[in-house]
Chain length 271, copies 2
């Protein structure tokens, strides 16, 4: 993946400086069809190793404005895996029980076991975003949380749980169009939530708070910014990061059971 | 509680410098009977406030060598509370599922909800003690964990969950006597575990690693060292710390429901 899609310290121009329609040198879905197929195969093989050896875990955190396609990309990229090695969680508004706990409680509980891939659709980053936009969390508290989040992610990385963070970057126009289609297209009506429209007026604040989160919380693991106005490019870019991250785990091949080797030897001798 | 029972930075003489038979100026159980009763009453009233207002949580962590009386003191001090506001956990050897998770995972999951008191019989401190004694965790890894534990406890304290740490300090002779009675007294046979005898030969290592944990992990919340060869003194000293800690939460009185006040006004007007 091009380095320009990893959030840099003091990113020039902020989110406004990254084009949500960016597709690099690529023009269309057809150009990447073959590579996509290869990446998928590699991903599935890497997962098999992870499930077999069980010495590492990995969690992919997806954040993005409403309509940025978090559900869609998770469905697209993580379908077809061995279900005994993947767990997916969608962090909605906290339940009554969750509200009575510290904000990392529910996320830590869902951190993958060794041998597992987890996807988080939203995460504890909401606790420095939507809560901050609505004044429930002060700037001071948000900054304290950035530190706590860095400690938490560093802790996970030090304890064999790799954290990968992905932001799906869309334009304001793209969101408007999506919301319109949810209103106008009867087959998409079920996705419509009036609060999404209300949140639109906070767009600038969201971007500013996202930028601060990216800047302050890239210590343990960087933020990947995925231009997402083109669905095919978004899916492709995320798949690449996912496979790269799986490769970076440097997974070992499962070792044969020593008892099996002994049995095989005995078996040979009886031949 | 006497300040000398809080672990100091570079504690003079280490654990060997603290007499497990210490009872201060007190001679017997009878002298503290009245005060104990008063402390209990205060404790129960403070818990009622905690349950009603639900803006804070508190966890009491108990550590100590085998036979130091962790079960006994929890039973003695925390009996009689409103069960809807207390949760007690005993952290045994990790299950297969727990072994596949980071070492703080099971403890974080059991951190009390707001409005709750939790007692931990053993804790994540085992992950820098027994594992270290048996060479499963290296010195280097133990030191990394001290930092992680400090971050974790600081995080909890910053998020309205107060952490109180109590070490029950017994002598080697006291343990030997207890183990002997578990072997000789048929009514105590069920408590006997051969591994307790085996662990005795690591006594010095345990003390050294405990001392290091106290020194390195007193940042967010101090360690209380309770001389525990005398059961009555141990119970009394722990009760005092528990009540002091509850007081330090500065719990608010529950505020009357505004709707109730309105209803009462209406009720008065109809009289």
């Amino acid at each position: 993946m091009s380095k320009s899609l990893v959030w840099e310290d003091k990113q020039k121009g902020g989110l406004a400086g990254i084009d949500p329609k960016y597709t690099g040198a690529l023009q269309s879905k057809e150009e990447i069809a073959e590579e996509t197929e290869k990446l998928r195969e590699e991903f599935h093989k890497l997962q098999e190793k992870l499930v077999a050896v069980k010495d590492k875990g990995i969690v992919f955190i997806f954040q993005g404005m409403d309509c940025s396609g978090k559900d869609g990309v998770i469905k697209h990229v993580f379908s077809g895996l061995n279900p005994q090695g993947i767990s997916s969680y969608s962090f909605k508004a906290p339940t009554e029980e969750e509200k009575l706990h510290d904000y990392l409680w529910r996320a830590h509980n869902k951190v993958p076991a060794l041998g597992y891939i987890a996807t988080f659709n939203r995460s504890y980053y909401e606790d420095v975003l939507i809560t901050r936009v609505h004044g429930i969390v002060s700037d001071k508290e948000a900054r304290r949380r950035f530190k706590q989040i860095n400690h938490f992610e560093t802790y996970l990385m030090d304890n064999q749980v790799h954290v990968v963070k992905i932001f799906l970057h869309i334009s304001n126009d793209f969101q408007l169009e999506k919301l319109r289609s949810r209103i106008e297209d009867p087959s998409k009506n079920w996705k419509f939530d009036a609060s999404d429209l209300a949140e639109r007026k906070h767009w600038k604040k969201y971007w500013a708070y996202y930028e601060e989160a990216f800047e302050k919380c890239s210590k343990a693991s960087p933020w990947h910014i995925i231009p997402s106005d083109n669905r095919w490019y978004r899916n492709y870019a995320v798949l690449k990061i996912v496979v790269d991250s799986m490769r970076s785990l440097k997974l070992n091949d499962p070792e044969p059971n020593p008892e099996l080797i002994k049995l095989l030897d005995e078996f040979k001798n009886t031949e």
